[in-house]
């Protein structure tokens, strides 16, 4: 069988999601954001909600998420995405409304909005890309930076005496009455990507069914900020991030 017989449109088993446009994404090579964007695009498309989805992008590396996924978007001020999403969903209850935030946006300046939107049980999905560093501004410490991890504002390693402790937002979210689904996923392997996509779908469906708020955390890499190659960053993540931010469902009441 020669190559031309294989490379035919009816034989496609994998391609860029149709809801992703042709704009080259600005993320660093190997960045987890790209994979999470693909999953968001695929799930929205598969749910048939492309014309009813409204995303809220953060301040952070993903500020330009609105340039890549072909739905309507709003750009939020730093940390405030869950408040915007609340306003949108309350006034457009039949829309699929989600936020897409990094660890600085969600767990630092936005902690208040995150907790309260989740606790009010707003029918939205909060997507949390956690790579334990501030990527966009050049690699500073984040509230989820691990003890001992080196960043530009803790160059000798995070020290609890000076910097306090890393925050486990998913654990906090799982305690809140208003949440129906809280999960941690990752996107470094085919298996984890498959699981992550299912989790995202579950969260989106729960929000449309009026079950309450969901937090889908993606434990991710930042090879630029961590100063590692994409491959080594995945290894570092598996060795250090996964034990501290363990994957799996922390709360699931979606079938109640």
């Amino acid at each position: 069988m020669d190559r031309n017989q294989i490379v035919q449109p009816e034989n496609i088993v994998c391609k860029k999601p149709t809801l992703m446009n042709d704009n080259n994404m600005h993320y660093c090579p190997g960045c987890s954001h790209g994979v999470v964007h693909k999953l968001v695009a695929e799930v929205i498309e598969e749910m048939g909600m492309a014309d009813k989805a409204v995303g809220v992008s953060p301040v952070g590396c993903a500020v330009f998420a609105y340039n890549y996924i072909d739905i309507d978007w709003q750009e939020a001020a730093h940390g405030r995405a869950p408040a915007l999403a609340t306003g949108i969903k309350r006034c457009w209850p039949d829309r699929l409304v989600f936020t897409y935030q990094g660890d600085g946006d969600l767990a630092c300046i936005g902690t208040c909005e995150t907790i309260h939107a989740l606790n009010r049980g707003e029918n939205i999905v909060i997507i949390f890309v956690n790579n334990a560093i501030y990527g966009m501004t050049g690699g500073q410490m984040a509230p989820t930076t691990l003890i001992g991890q080196k960043t530009s504002t803790c160059p000798y390693g995070r020290d609890p005496e000076i910097h306090g402790y890393p925050l486990k937002m998913a654990d906090i979210a799982a305690q809140l009455e208003g949440t129906c689904y809280v999960t941690r996923q990752s996107v470094e392997s085919v298996a984890s990507i498959n699981k992550a996509k299912k989790a995202l779908r579950k969260a989106f469906e729960a929000s449309m069914a009026g079950k309450g708020s969901s937090l889908v955390e993606f434990v991710s890499t930042c090879n630029s900020g961590w100063k590692l190659t994409p491959a080594k960053a995945n290894e570092w993540m598996k060795e250090n991030m996964f034990p501290f931010y363990p994957k799996g469902d922390l709360k699931d009441t979606t079938d109640k």
């Binding site: 449109p9 496609i12 085919v190 994409p230």
Partner: protein, 108 residues
């Protein structure tokens, strides 16, 4: 057999139902046993040379080309396409959605 184009993770119906997999080895095994041949087309202007596809590929199909694209990134290419079974691991892990993966069953 109805096929969903563009929904990159919905290839399960082409094979025996996949058990929950944690290792790509199981993916590979099923494809080889089902006698699939694959091919990839790389969007070289989208590729950033992160090489995650190279690591994900169980068949050593892909390598970094000795060229750069218009953005200055070295991109990847299939150097060993005869070994490709169309498992799509490369396309799935690619952060930029650069790789279109084709698969066709080898006729007996």
């Amino acid at each position: 057999m109805k096929e969903n184009f563009g929904f990159s993770l919905h290839f399960a119906h082409l094979l025996v139902p996949l058990q929950p997999i944690s290792e790509d080895y199981h993916v590979l095994n099923k494809y080889i046993m089902a006698k699939m041949r694959g091919a990839i087309v790389v969007d070289t202007e989208r590729c950033k040379g992160c090489q995650l596809c190279i690591i994900a590929c169980p068949q050593k199909v892909i390598a970094l080309a000795n060229k750069v694209n218009l953005h200055g990134y070295p991109y990847v290419e299939a150097v060993n396409e005869e070994a490709c079974v169309g498992c799509a691991s490369c396309g799935i892990v690619c952060p930029d959605g650069c790789i279109t993966v084709y698969r066709k069953k080898v006729e007996e």
